[in-house]
Amino acid sequence: MSVLEYLANGLVFSSIIVLASIGLSLVYSIADFANFAHGDTMTVGAYSALVTFGFVGGLGARFLGLPLGFFVALAVGVAVAALVAVITQRFLYDAMDVDSIGMLITSIGVAFVYRALIQFQFGSDFVEFGIQVLRPIEFLIPFGVRMTLHDVAIIVSAAILVAGLHTLLQYTDLGRKMRATADNPSLARVSGIRVDRITLWTWVIGAGLAGAGGVFLGLYNQISPRMGFNILLVVFAAVILGGIGSVYGAMLGGFLIGMINQLTPILTDVGIPIGIEYANAIAFVIMVAVLLVRPNGIAGGQGAGT
């Protein structure tokens, strides 16, 4: 495989990781705990989309090799992931009286509950959307890149969502309030911002993006109850690399970790005996190294929105 192809794969995988990282980072900064249920929120999104796709899969024309029904399913996946997260926040996290470590442990319990419920309903096996697998785009093959329209769809959709988030954060009142609250919650309150509402919106957006990431991960690989938990640590690596609490840092970290992950085969190509099976391990080692050397991440630990 060519380096270009690794880069292309990296772009696809990065798109997914970026979507997941943003939400994890947002919640980390505003709710002040490492949310171990974030990966399983992705899974919730993927399965919700799967169910929806079963109903609307045949719907409409195709766009980027995907039926319009897929995008409906994507929207539902995002919505359900957000809803589930909001319900959890309102009825559980809000009522907790423990420190951030206690919250972290609680979120592990939440992750297991999500996953268990999904497993009851759908079993533990891998499933797929059942969209016909496409042939690589002819145009790119001479360059040594085997990439399908679906891959392009993932990149484009992620780019649209990221751009949308950027617009929201920079140019809307809600976005500014979110950044303000993440930056300085007590001053936000003093300024008259209803912080609890902003917190809820943060959960909605963070979990919604995670849901989208889950749907794309399902399209890229397969869907299984463990998909989210399995990728969670990679997402943590991205968030920590980018700097916890920084949305744009999470984007950068997600991009880098996704790329590094898919570029691992180069190591074997140049004779270093570390195979693709260690792609995740490399991300984890980078994560630990960043924690040690630069705990604020490469973006430098500035507040959200920087």
């Binding site: 907790m96 470590i101 592990i108 319990g109 268990a116 533990s124 640590l233 690596a237």
Partner: protein, 402 residues
């Protein structure tokens, strides 16, 4: 007051003597454990539960108690969030398996006793390797980093086939007492027994039962040694420093304690105990595979410790019981026709719900630690007020300590 380490908190369930002396929680725990044992005994006499399987369960309880002890020595004593329990457990199991298993790509056929030491040594080395970078981290970072490093270990075991046999795992591991005089042939030597308590459902004891009995004996010895060791080291100046670090690391530093060194000791100690559980498991199950490194195994142990009450050894024992109740109870429920669920998700749900409930309603655990961390016999000798106005005798557990 019942939850604070007050003066009247010295008695533990075993030495208090009368049921009425116990706090309502302690009574509840006692009833739960007794009920569970009664249920098992009922299953045993009615033939619903094979005697060999019964012994196997007891062995597993012991294994989880060991694992909980190990995590307790890290999280409970010192506040170290170690999410790599499965890595140390797995390493202990692989350490002995690689020396003793039939299909080990490296050795095989070596005495399990040597395997035991290799398993513990591997875990100690890994603990130092993981500990050096991570023990300086903030608590939540330590959690994430240790989970990540545990995954690295799992991936290595899974992929380095020439050393570990990869996903095929290691088979043909001998029982722990292989090659020992008397004990190695004990199961064969024992006569078959047939006990009929409930007419029509006799309990048949044959060779596998005696093998399982040996295993229970082994884990009992492991648990007893660990318990005595922990009790000796915890109620001491060393244990006090750990608890101070857990409460406030800066304070411990300001009082002249090298907190990094103490954290490392606590981390290594706990990890070695986890590896001990792994060694036992390898010789109980006679087969190990990379699946033993799965993170879910880490969280089983976590639920045992936070449920029991972090820092409390009797809590860890209780937690070990509950985890087995979850693991095997779900299997049992699955047998009932009209609520036939998959075992996997049911267990996961039980673990998840239990974590949430504990953290929501009783974050300090069911049986939080109640002892003062003072060398027990010194407390008896010293010319200071006793442990409180209730004047409960506390000498019952002090004598054998020194």
């Amino acid at each position: 007051m019942s939850e604070s380490p007050g003066p009247d908190a010295d008695a533990d369930a075993a030495s208090a003597g009368r049921f009425g002396d116990l706090t309502p929680t302690e009574q509840g725990v006692l009833v739960f454990v007794a009920g569970l044992l009664a249920l098992l005994a009922l299953g045993l006499v009615t033939g619903g539960l094979g005697p060999t399987y019964f012994m196997y369960l007891i062995g597993l309880v012991g294994m989880y108690v060991l694992l909980s002890f190990g995590l307790n020595a890290q999280w409970g004593y010192t506040g170290l969030i170690n999410f790599s329990v499965a890595a140390f457990f797995g390493l202990g199991a692989y350490g002995t398996a690689i020396l003793t298993a039939d299909n080990s790509p490296i050795a095989g056929g070596i005495s399990p006793v040597l395997g035991l030491f290799v398993g513990l040594l591997l875990a100690a080395v890994l603990a130092v390797i993981i500990g050096i970078p991570t023990l300086r981290l903030r608590a939540d970072y330590l959690a994430i980093a240790s989970l990540g490093l545990a995954e690295v270990v799992r991936l290595i075991v899974l992929n380095e086939r020439e050393y570990t046999n990869g996903s095929a795992g290691l088979r043909g591991i001998p029982g722990f007492f292989e090659g020992w005089p008397v004990l190695s042939t004990f199961p064969q030597a024992m006569p078959g027994l047939r006990i009929e308590i409930v007419p029509g459902s006799p309990i048949v004891l044959q060779q596998p039962f005696y093998q399982a009995l040996l295993n229970v004996g082994l884990v009992f010895v492991f648990v007893a040694i660990t318990f005595l060791l922990l009790r000796r080291v915890h109620r001491s100046p060393w244990g006090r420093v750990l608890r101070t670090i857990r409460g406030d690391e800066d304070l411990a530093e300001a009082l002249g304690k090298n907190t990094y060194a103490f954290k490392m000791q606590s981390f290594v100690l706990g990890s070695v105990i986890m590896a001990l559980a792994g060694v036992f498991y390898a010789h109980l199950n006679l087969f190990v595979s990379p699946g033993d490194f799965e993170p879910i195994n880490t969280f089983y142990v976590w639920i045992a410790v936070i449920l029991g009450g972090s820092g409390s050894n009797r809590g860890a024992m209780f937690g070990g019981f509950v985890v087995i109740a979850i693991r095997e109870g779900t299997r049992f429920l699955n047998g009932i026709e009209f609520i036939a669920f998959d075992i996997g998700p049911l267990r996961l749900l039980a673990v998840g719900v239990l974590i949430i409930l504990v953290m929501r309603f009783r974050p300090e655990g069911v049986l939080p630690p109640q002892r003062e961390l003072i060398w027990p016999s010194a407390l008896d000798d010293a010319d200071v007020p006793g442990p409180g106005e209730t004047q409960r005798p506390h000498a019952t557990d002090g004598g054998e300590q020194s």
